[in-house]
């Protein structure tokens, strides 16, 4: 028995010696695509969007009227909806917008005599009320919780509840967008009194706009209903109403991807999931397009072609954030756009340089090549002459290109196809048709053309 015991112990020892190191030999098993994807998503702070609280109905209706009423523009010829057209996913479908003084309907809108294009494309207002920290292509407006700041300084009233209401204070101040130039006359041939105050007299402009509105009984009634007991009227109330309207009507967060975030694995198709894996992985999109909005937080020079009249520092170049901050780091850096509903908001980038997501993805795959070989024929004919494709401009843009884009991503055509498929899965179906938000008429009696 003693010998037997000894043999047994030796046998056990030999067995153990064989096994101590573990024996995982083959390549590890791959998690399912959902497991991979959810793991990746979790790394980038991408979370579902909760329900938007119901906004004050009276404010929503006032905001709706204001949004579509051209009375807010100095020449009574453009409304917010002119450049943020519900039929164009709250953009205008153009590379560069045409502001006040333009001619024609949005889709075929053209510059009026002596006018110039707005330097940057009209960003969509879809989901603009979710609580982004910064707005505008150069993020000139930022802040939260009632503290907002504009660069360069504008006297934004204190106490505005959200950044969208702060944003709504600004377009009426912009001479190219809504306000007009001194000496302009409105569509009725009357002098444009909103254009009279100087460029540093924002309160005077806001007061002038309010004077117009308060001359219309229906607006008086609507303001009183929307802001009872406040004892005054001011353009900040108009801005708050505009924000309430946009938050109520333009929040579109029920995309297939949103349903996937809420643990519905079947919400995305396999190609969409493959594209999402690329988005959050190899293609590195999520290094900028992350967080709850898939973007909107950062600035980056993505090598977008230079198109348009340019900024003020080095015209005709548009330095983006570099217009505001004298810092090489921000040269040609623009806001990283939030991506929900991106399928609907073409053209893309601050200059509206690309008309399809496929073009955008190809651009990102090899930015240097794309920028160097950019074909302006894809632009609207009236914008085409404003393309700056000379070697110096291309070199300047590439000089501060985001480091992540300095080498080709190496995506295959199939991968880029999957990526586009995923981007289309960010579309809330209800965002495809926004015609229901358009009122039949507005209190001013001006036509509700967009």
């Amino acid at each position: 028995m003693r010998r037997l015991s000894l043999r047994l112990v030796l046998g056990l020892a030999a067995l153990t010696a064989c096994e101590q190191g573990g024996t995982p030999t083959d390549p590890p098993l791959q998690p399912t695509i959902d497991a991979q994807l959810r793991g990746l998503i979790g790394n980038w702070g991408v979370v579902p969007i909760g329900p938007m609280p119901v906004q004050n109905p009276a404010q929503v209706e006032l905001g709706r009227a204001l949004f579509f009423d051209k009375i807010l523009s100095g020449n009574r010829d453009v409304a917010c909806a002119t450049c943020h057209d519900p039929s164009a996913a709250l953009s205008d479908g153009r590379s560069l917008p045409v502001g006040t003084g333009g001619i024609g309907m949005p889709a075929a809108r053209r510059l009026g005599p002596g006018r110039q294009f707005i330097p940057r494309s009209a960003p969509t207002l879809l989901n603009a009320g979710l609580g982004l920290y910064a707005l505008f292509w150069d993020q000139r407006l930022n802040g939260n919780q009632g503290q907002f700041h504009v660069t360069p300084d504008e006297p934004i009233p204190l106490g505005l509840p959200n950044i969208l209401s702060a944003q709504a204070m600004l377009p009426v101040l912009n001479r190219h967008e809504m306000r007009g130039e001194p000496g302009d006359v409105d569509v009725f041939g009357h002098p444009n009194e909103l254009a009279q105050p100087g460029d540093q007299e924002a309160p005077a402009v806001w007061n002038a706009v309010m004077a117009r509105l308060m001359a219309i009984n229906q607006y008086v009634t609507m303001f009183n209903a929307a802001f009872p007991g406040e004892g005054r009227v001011g353009f900040d109330q108009a801005a708050r109403a505009l924000a309430a309207f946009q938050m109520q009507e333009f929040t579109k967060t029920r995309s297939p991807f949103d349903r996937y975030l809420e643990r519905d694995d079947a919400a995305l198709s396999l190609p969409e999931k493959r594209g999402a894996l690329l988005f959050f992985g190899k293609a590195q999109c999520s290094t900028c397009h992350n967080g709850p909005f898939l973007g909107g937080q950062q600035l980056a020079n993505v090598g977008a072609p230079q198109i348009g009249p340019g900024g003020t520092r080095q015209p005709p170049l548009d330095l983006g954030r570099g217009e505001l901050d004298n810092n090489d780091f921000y040269q040609f850096a623009f806001r990283v756009a939030p991506l929900r509903n991106v399928e609907l908001t073409a053209p893309y980038f601050h200059s509206g340089a690309f008309r399809t997501l496929d073009e955008v993805v190809h651009h990102y795959n090899d930015v240097t090549k794309s920028l160097s070989e950019y074909d302006p024929s894809r632009l609207d004919p009236d914008v085409r002459p404003l393309y700056r494709g000379d070697a110096g401009t291309v070199s300047a843009v590439l000089g501060t290109l985001d480091f992540r884009l300095r080498r080709s991503l190496g995506l295959t055509e199939a991968e880029m196809g999957d990526l586009v498929t995923f981007l289309k899965a960010l579309t809330d179906p209800s965002a495809r048709n926004l015609s229901a938000v358009i009122p039949a008429s507005v209190p001013s009696g001006l036509p509700v053309s967009r």
Binding site: L8, E19, P24, A35, G42, P51, L270
Partner: protein, 514 residues
């Protein structure tokens, strides 16, 4: 073993070590520690490494095969309080079983009850703190919030209850005994289940196990014995899991959390059969035996573990063991060893909840199989033990001790077909678990006291990589736990220490105990 990373996609199936683990074959694909939570009742041989093939265990055998109740001897009361603890604060439990054996003529029977308290794992010791989880709930502030606002209470401890009854009859002229037993367990805490949901905010378990056995024992003159037992085991448990999900709240324009409740079901049905035969060898004191066991398991429901890749999907397993045992008894000493080979085949799959497009452009219809796992286990179990009784008062009082060792080698290969991505993966995994055991006994004319202990090494408890995913598994109370980890799995090495004290009082003379 510490912080050992396992291959992705590993599969875990654990069939519990109930009162008769020998008839229910444990299947595990990751070296998860077994807490012996369901090892409730007294045993003569557990201190000897659990040897059982060529030696009898008159205290424990009736729970395995009710026909073996014929060997119980005198009617008696017994109690066998026990406790276990998993190192690193990974779990603990205490159990108090009380029971009686009755013998009247050719009839024999027994009944037992047990209450048990299971402590949750101290997850804070195991996992990195969850920063998000520490934030307060804010969903109360959301108008129209459809989510519950109160986290369910999660006690640190849970109580289980067990009941057991057995009845048998012997026909001395034929040397034949038959018996039947039923065991029922009401479960509110299964060790380690909380580790399945490491990021959950709360977990409530409820379930039951039913174990039915029909056994026969044929004993011949000269010591040969043949026994058979049929087993039907049904395990069903529900895990009510509360999770806090982060989301962006447009109302407050900030991150917030909301509560999500999920009900996961864990069900396994097992049919098993075992045949055991032993006989004395010509050499005095030597005995040889063999055992053959088969388990057919279906998993109509499995839990939907956190971030796993095969949610709520079925499977089935065929598990077998073939073992031989040898023992030598000389006066008051006994040496025994067992060698068992366990071939196991398991097949699980994932059902498509809705039509799924494959990478090849085909469509898997709802209910079709999106993932198929084929496991092939080849496990080996070696047990050896020694016991010695030492009379210290003219043979009416005895002191005894036992020493033993059980070594369990588990190895398997896995082929995983992903029918959606049209890929096939292979994996191999193996490890060895060591369980030294020990025991002592004191026998007096009117009562008997036994102690046994064991410590299992070579296993671990699952952990989570901070930014990634999780899979964990507990022991199972006769239930099936099926996990396909969706990411890197980290095992933190632990030891499981078990202690049990058993005391019995014959309440009338008669019969003998081997």
């Amino acid at each position: 073993m510490s912080a050992r990373a396992l291959p992705l996609g590993a599969f875990l199936l654990a069939i519990g070590a109930g009162p008769a683990a020998a008839q229910l074959i444990a299947i595990r694909s990751v070296p998860i520690s077994q807490s012996h939570q369901f090892d409730l009742f007294p045993s003569l041989r557990m201190g000897m490494g659990g040897v059982s093939i060529a030696v009898d265990d008159s205290l424990h055998d009736p729970f395995s095969n009710p026909a073996k109740g014929v060997r119980l001897g005198a009617s008696s009361f017994f109690g066998s309080p026990g406790l276990y603890s998993v190192s690193r604060g990974a779990g603990a439990g205490r159990t108090l079983p009380l029971g009686t054996w009755l013998r009247s003529g050719n009839w024999f029977g027994g009944a037992a009850i047990a209450v048990q308290q299971i402590d949750l794992s101290h997850q804070a010791n195991f996992f990195p703190p969850c920063a998000v989880c520490a934030q307060p709930l804010t969903q109360d502030a959301l108008p129209g919030n459809p989510f519950p606002t109160q986290l369910p209470a999660t006690d640190r401890s849970h109580g289980n209850a067990f009941g057991y009854a057995m009845l048998g009859r012997t026909v001395p002229a034929l040397g034949l005994s038959v018996g039947a037993s039923v065991e029922w367990a009401g479960l509110h805490g299964v060790d380690g289940v909380d580790l399945l949901y490491p990021r959950s905010a709360g977990l409530t378990q409820r379930g039951h196990e039913l174990d039915l056995r029909l056994g026969a024992l044929k004993q011949w003159e000269g010591g040969r014995a043949l026994s058979t037992v049929l087993v039907h085991n049904r395990f069903a448990a529900t895990h009510d899991v509360s999770d806090l999900d982060g989301f962006w709240d447009p109302g407050t324009q900030s991150f917030a959390q909301r509560l999500r409740l999920e009900e996961n079901q864990d069900q396994t049905n097992t049919w098993g059969a075992q045949v055991e035969y032993s006989w004395p060898l010509r050499a005095p004191g030597w005995r040889l035996g063999w055992v053959a066991t088969t388990n057919l398991m279906s998993h109509p429901k499995i839990p939907n573990y956190e971030i796993q890749n095969i949610p709520r999907d079925p499977g089935n397993s065929q598990a077998f063991n073939l073992g031989v045992g040898l023992s030598k008894t000389a006066e008051a000493s006994t040496f025994a060893l067992d060698a068992v080979y366990e071939p196991i085949w398991s097949y699980t799959w994932a059902d498509a909840a809705s039509p799924v497009q494959t990478s090849g452009g085909l469509t898997i219809p709802a209910g079709g199989k999106t993932i198929e796992n084929r496991f092939r286990f080849a496990n080996a179990l070696l047990r050896m033990g020694f016991s010695q009784d030492l009379p210290f008062d003219q043979s009416t009082r005895q002191f005894g001790f036992q020493l033993g060792l059980a070594v369990h080698r588990i190895g398997y290969s896995l082929v995983q077909d992903d029918n959606v991505q049209a890929t096939t993966r292979h994996a191999h995994e193996s490890w060895v678990e060591w369980t030294p055991t020990w025991g002592m006994s004191l026998k007096f004319p009117g009562w008997e006291l036994r102690y046994r202990g064991s410590v299992t090494n070579g296993t671990g408890r699952p952990g989570v990589f901070p930014n990634n995913v999780t899979v964990a598994t507990p022991d199972a109370a006769g239930g099936t736990i099926l996990v396909a980890p969706s990411g890197p799995l980290t095992m933190t090495g632990v030891r499981v220490m078990t202690h049990q004290v058993a005391i019995s009082f014959p309440f009338r003379s008669g019969g003998t105990r081997p």
